[in-house]
């Protein structure tokens, strides 16, 4: 937040804090009066390097931003059996093991998923984290220093809609295949973090922890692993939902072309965007969404002023589970300028990782195109229903808990 010259606070441009909470605060005025008030923001705390390390601070910050009761690093120690006599913690001893983390999260009714970027250097750490943080799943990012691993909680991101790279990379190379698309993570230039060695609300450039060298040759100051805190029912990985959305949507669009049927203008642009001399990428934004929040987004108008009818809303929501992966498929200018999308692709989120790649054809729930909704069926063919939305439609937004200032 910064103070505008008219003494009015407005948020920083294109700063999106996704992991926030409202905290009940009290001040004893000293006159036998307790003043109560609320602060909406993100919790920050530091390690003391004696009985707590960065992992305690990061975990506390994360849990206090999603929970109701405030916990301290010492609460975590008690939970995992650290008594500072027989079992000690601190920089000379150990960090928090996976077993410790699991125990603490279980007590909070939370689950997690994680990946190691040293063992899997082909995974772009920012894309991995972004798909979860965009759906308000907190992330703990661990990176290497010269001698240690440091962990910071990721609370949100900034956006730069003028970034040249995503479109230039597509136009100036010839790598076009079905999975050649750009995640909206490509326009995220910083993660917003708390670093307990520095303070709250720092903007960490994505590129600060990226290297073109392999980890075994260049180990210092790069992303090491990420732990994502998830609802217990979230089991399907984000990459699977996103890749399925691109493959299956493109398959259906190609089928329409093959049979010579009419496509709406915007879906046609998706098909045509890549088959030209200087192609432009399709853009995909994938995030985990709950059904109630999705329903709240059905009251907008599309670019032509059309709205969803009550019958449309019923069709769209009757088969939806309480939690699902939503992939919004769009084009670069629609994303950066209009902040709108063409296609909504819905995918199950409670399935275990794939044992068979073609299971992606069973796991999609429905696809909303302009003019039509395709509903998948486990037993027969999908069905197609008419929709009143005929053009591009505003991107999904969570209910605002704090003001944002969008370009």
């Amino acid at each position: 937040m910064f103070i505008h010259d008219q003494k009015h606070q407005i948020p920083l441009l294109n700063n999106y804090l996704h992991i926030i909470n409202t905290f009940n605060c009290e001040v004893d005025t000293g006159n036998n009066e307790i003043k109560k008030f609320k602060i909406t923001g993100t919790f920050f705390c530091q390690q003391n390097s004696v009985t707590s390390v960065c992992a305690h601070a990061a975990l506390c910050m994360t849990l206090n931003n999603v929970g109701k009761d405030i916990i301290t690093p010492e609460d975590i120690n008690k939970d995992i059996g650290i008594d500072h006599i027989d079992k000690k913690i601190g920089p000379q001893n150990r960090g928090l093991s996976q077993e410790d983390i699991v125990k603490v999260l279980k007590d909070y009714g939370l689950a997690y998923t994680w990946t190691n970027f040293f063992e899997n250097p082909n995974i772009e750490y920012n894309e991995y984290i972004y798909r979860y943080i965009e759906g308000r799943c907190p992330a703990l990012l661990v990176f290497s220093t010269d001698t240690e691993l440091h962990v910071v909680p990721i609370l949100g991101h900034t956006l730069n809609t003028d970034i040249w790279r995503p479109e230039a990379e597509t136009a100036y190379t010839d790598q076009i295949d079905r999975l050649h698309y750009k995640s909206t993570a490509s326009w995220v230039d910083h993660f917003i973090i708390h670093d307990d060695n520095f303070g709250p609300y720092f903007c960490m450039p994505i590129d600060a922890l990226k290297r073109i060298t392999l980890p075994k040759h260049d180990r210092t100051f790069r992303s090491y692993l990420a732990v994502i805190i998830t609802p217990p029912e979230l089991k399907t990985p984000a990459w699977e939902a996103e890749w399925a959305s691109v493959i299956i949507t493109k398959l259906y669009l190609q089928k329409i072309i093959d049979i010579g049927a009419q496509l709406d203008d915007w879906s046609e642009r998706i098909v045509k965007t890549e088959s030209v001399r200087r192609p432009r990428p399709i853009v995909v934004r994938t995030l985990v969404v709950d059904k109630d929040e999705y329903i709240k987004n059905l009251d907008e108008k599309d670019f032509e002023g059309n709205i969803f009818t009550e019958s449309d809303k019923k069709s769209l929501t009757k088969n939806l589970p309480d939690l699902f992966w939503l992939s919004e498929i769009t084009l670069p200018d629609l994303y950066t300028a209009n902040k709108s999308k063409i296609v909504d692709f819905f995918y199950e989120c409670d399935k275990p990782p794939l044992s068979n790649d073609t299971d992606i054809y069973k796991r999609w729930i429905q696809i909303r195109f302009p003019h039509a909704l395709l509903l998948n069926s486990q037993s027969g063919n999908p069905t197609a229903l008419q929709m009143s939305i005929k053009s591009h439609y505003p991107l999904f937004r969570f209910e605002k808990r704090e003001e944002t200032f969008d370009w």
Binding site: C54, L96, S97, T115, Y252, I259, A261, L354, A384, K390
Partner: protein, 65 residues
């Protein structure tokens, strides 16, 4: 004019829906392309590795070559 435009629009909508209804009756090509299979395989391998290994948050680096 508005009525003609509205009828044209309705006809377009109906044509588009017809197309989707025809396509949903076709069998969706179940195969992934070779490069897609490779990408899926890499991603699934990464997940299996996670299940076999463990992590520690914070502390000294312990790189195993």
């Amino acid at each position: 004019m508005a009525r003609i435009a509205s009828e044209k629009g309705k006809k377009k909508s109906n044509n588009i829906l017809d197309g989707w209804q025809k396509v949903t009756k076709l069998k969706l090509d179940g195969g992934l392309k070779q490069n897609e299979k490779a990408k899926f395989e890499k991603a699934r391998f990464a997940e299996k590795q996670n299940k076999r290994s463990t992590f520690v948050l914070g502390g000294k680096i312990n790189f195993c070559d």
